[in-house]
């Protein structure tokens, strides 16, 4: 772990005075005065497309660095880390679930779940049992048919199953922060509610913090807190003629 902040209490995630502007011909900029999540909290971040959700997630994951301000995860300030140290930090501490196409299609689901451990030795060390057993056990808890997890490529699974494998991959080794980027948008209503239940159960049992981004306000009741992008961030898009 890199630099530590001397704070009495540390948030699971904290952004303060963050400003970022994408380089390019149509610069998009985002400014976040303050946004923080308590450890173990489950937060829904609501926002329409173009509201800066993706930029926020890239900042939180340390893919990009803010032009000013600080981003902290736990006691670590991402600003202080080099690019490769941020990559390592992300591997160790953040699990990411995308909207869809989460898996490497040619690997088996099991290999997909084991893959992040390759980049995160501490996460691997945190496992109570051999990595393969841990992966299978979490997949079993997510209601995935184990025989389909081992032999054939991930591309053979249904979208719903693929999303659940993505949850297993995000949660293995209990990273402190789970980022989910509209993970249910490709699922039908029934699959969606099952998925949400399973996700919550596993997040709770791993003791992780959950930040989920969505445009679907109906999900809000299931979370500890729902925040709208417009409440925390100011965005501007200069369109050049």
């Amino acid at each position: 772990m890199a630099t530590q902040d001397n704070k009495d209490t540390s948030f699971a995630l904290e952004l303060a005075g963050v400003k970022y502007q994408w380089p390019g011909k149509q610069p998009f900029s985002i400014a976040i005065e303050r946004f923080a999540i308590e450890p173990g909290e489950r937060v829904l971040l609501l926002g329409e497309s173009g509201s800066g959700k993706s930029t926020l997630l890239s900042l939180v994951c340390g893919i990009i660095l803010p032009d000013s301000g600080t981003i902290s995860i736990g006691e670590t300030k991402l600003n202080d880390l080099s690019s490769s140290a941020r990559d390592r930090f992300r591997a160790e501490n953040i699990g990411v679930i995308f909207q869809m196409f989460n898996l490497l299609p040619n690997l088996t689901p099991l290999d997909n779940v084991l893959l992040p451990l390759h980049f995160a030795p501490a996460r691997r060390a945190r496992l109570q049992e051999p990595a393969r057993d841990a992966a299978l056990s979490i997949m079993e808890k997510l209601g995935l048919p184990l025989e389909a997890m081992i032999g054939s490529p991930a591309s053979r699974l249904s979208v719903g199953q693929q999303q659940r494998v993505a949850v297993a991959r995000a949660l293995i080794g209990q990273p402190s922060l789970i980022i989910a980027d509209e993970p249910t948008s490709a699922l039908d209503t029934k699959t969606r509610s099952t998925f949400m239940q399973l996700l919550f159960a596993q997040v709770v049992s791993a003791g992780s913090t959950l930040l989920m981004v969505s445009h679907d306000a109906s999900l809000a009741s299931e979370f500890d807190r729902a925040v709208s992008m417009s409440e925390i961030a100011e965005t501007s898009q200069m369109v050049l003629a």
Binding site: S54, C61, V96, F101, L104, N106, L107, D111, F119, A120
Partner: protein
């Protein structure tokens, strides 16, 4: 190791394009090494045309010229060696054996060579192999002729057939009053011997008894029986193959011949002259090797194009890898590994193709062209060449890998399609 599995799985997922790419590389490598093996085979066959002969002696000219007319039967001697000089050289203490040869006449486009029966013992090719008779035996009678395998095959000669020797190489005057009989047919050797009619030195003398200044003396024809009784000592020979008692004496004898006062003579070491000759012929083989090397390079460029064209659809894969903590350099390494795996597969497959083809065509090439291709494992030079190809494969894939690095740096975790 899991990264290797990711690379392998990703290749498997694109198995058709990958297989075609690997096949292209394999074919190009089989071609390059095929050319290389043929080149070495040709060179060896060439160098194997004559072996175990220490020196070749002839009238003074160039060493390559002497080699060409005495061994390859190409071109003509500028002058002869007098029998007396030959005798004096042969009587030197260094000389263990000597085989004189006399060239100048021909039979239907094939050279006629006069020599002694010792020629069949002393002439060696391909690392000491001896001439062998497919049919018949060395000459017994004055008008016996031994023919090479190609002569027998092309002219459909059999034992006992008559042969009329023409005077000179391209002339209308023939020694038709003294026909020869085919007394022996040699096994195929892959050397110029296959294309030679061999008669005794005395026979060459005999058919020229009635000749003077390149034409037959009008109305004069000595009968064969009379000729058989005559003492037919040649006045001159074209060249001679010499063996020395001890290898240490080769240079001593060579100097003695080259400094021979009575007559300008030249002695050459066949191996050295062959080397000189090969350097002249070698330009073509270098060109051929260069062309096949270009083919391998083209195949590797093809692989680079294939990786490049696949990059866009793989941006999703890269974003996933980035999201789970892979660094852009990991993506770079992954692409290099894939290229290395494809090159390696191409190499292994290519060498397999090469040896399979070699194994099949080897007997055919040996019989048809007298080109002996040894079926040997790869030598150090060839291993080095393979290493060079592997490195080149990795090098050409650096460009798409850098592009992937940049893409994954720019895309981050956002999945762009």
């Amino acid at each position: 190791m899991i990264l290797l599995r990711v690379a392998m799985r990703s290749l498997l997922g694109r198995r058709i394009t990958v297989a075609l790419t690997v096949f292209t590389i394999a074919l190009s490598i089989a071609l390059l090494f095929g050319v290389e093996k043929t080149r070495v085979g040709a060179r060896t066959s060439f160098a194997d045309t004559i072996s175990d002969t220490d020196l070749i002696m002839g009238a003074r000219s160039g060493s390559v010229q002497l080699l060409l007319y005495s061994v390859f039967r190409i071109g003509n001697a500028t002058n002869n060696v007098s029998w007396q000089s030959y005798q004096e050289i042969v009587d030197r203490p260094e000389v263990e054996w000597a085989v004189p040869i006399s060239l100048g006449d021909s039979h239907r486009g094939y050279r006629v060579m006069g020599t002694t029966a010792e020629y069949f013992d002393r002439y060696r090719y391909r690392g000491g192999r001896q001439l062998e008779f497919a049919e018949g035996e060395p000459f017994d009678d004055l008008f016996d002729a031994i023919i090479g395998a190609d002569v027998a095959q092309a002219l459909e000669y059999q034992l006992g057939d008559d042969i009329i020797v023409a005077h000179g190489l391209a002339s209308f005057s023939a020694h038709d009053d003294h026909p020869f009989k085919v007394a022996g047919i040699l096994e195929k050797t892959g050397t110029p011997v296959d294309r030679t009619v061999i008669v005794s030195l005395e026979a060459i003398e005999a058919i020229h008894v009635d000749w003077q200044g390149g034409a037959q003396i009008l109305g004069q024809s000595t009968s064969a029986d009379v000729l058989r009784q005559m003492k037919l000592t040649p006045k001159a020979i074209t060249a001679a193959m010499l063996g020395v008692n001890s290898k240490l004496q080769i240079f001593q004898l060579q100097r003695a011949i080259n400094e021979y006062r009575q007559e300008p003579l030249l002695a050459i070491l066949p191996g050295v002259a062959l080397q000189e000759l090969w350097e002249i012929v070698g330009v073509a083989e270098t060109a051929l090797a260069a062309v096949s090397a270009m083919v391998v390079f083209t195949a590797l460029i093809g692989m680079m194009a294939m990786i490049f064209s696949g990059l866009n659809e793989r941006r999703r894969e890269m974003a996933i890898l980035r999201s789970i903590g892979a660094r852009p350099s990991t993506v770079f390494t992954l692409l290099l590994m894939e290229a290395a795996a494809m090159t390696l597969a191409g190499i292994v497959f290519g060498i397999a193709i090469l040896y399979t083809i070699l194994w099949i065509v080897r007997p055919i090439i040996d019989a048809r062209f007298g080109l002996y291709l040894p079926l040997e494992p790869l030598d150090l030079r060839e291993w080095k060449l393979l290493g060079l190809i592997a490195i080149t494969g990795a090098l050409v894939s650096i460009a798409p890998a850098i592009r992937a690095y940049r893409l994954s740096l720019a895309d981050g975790m956002s999945i762009r399609m």
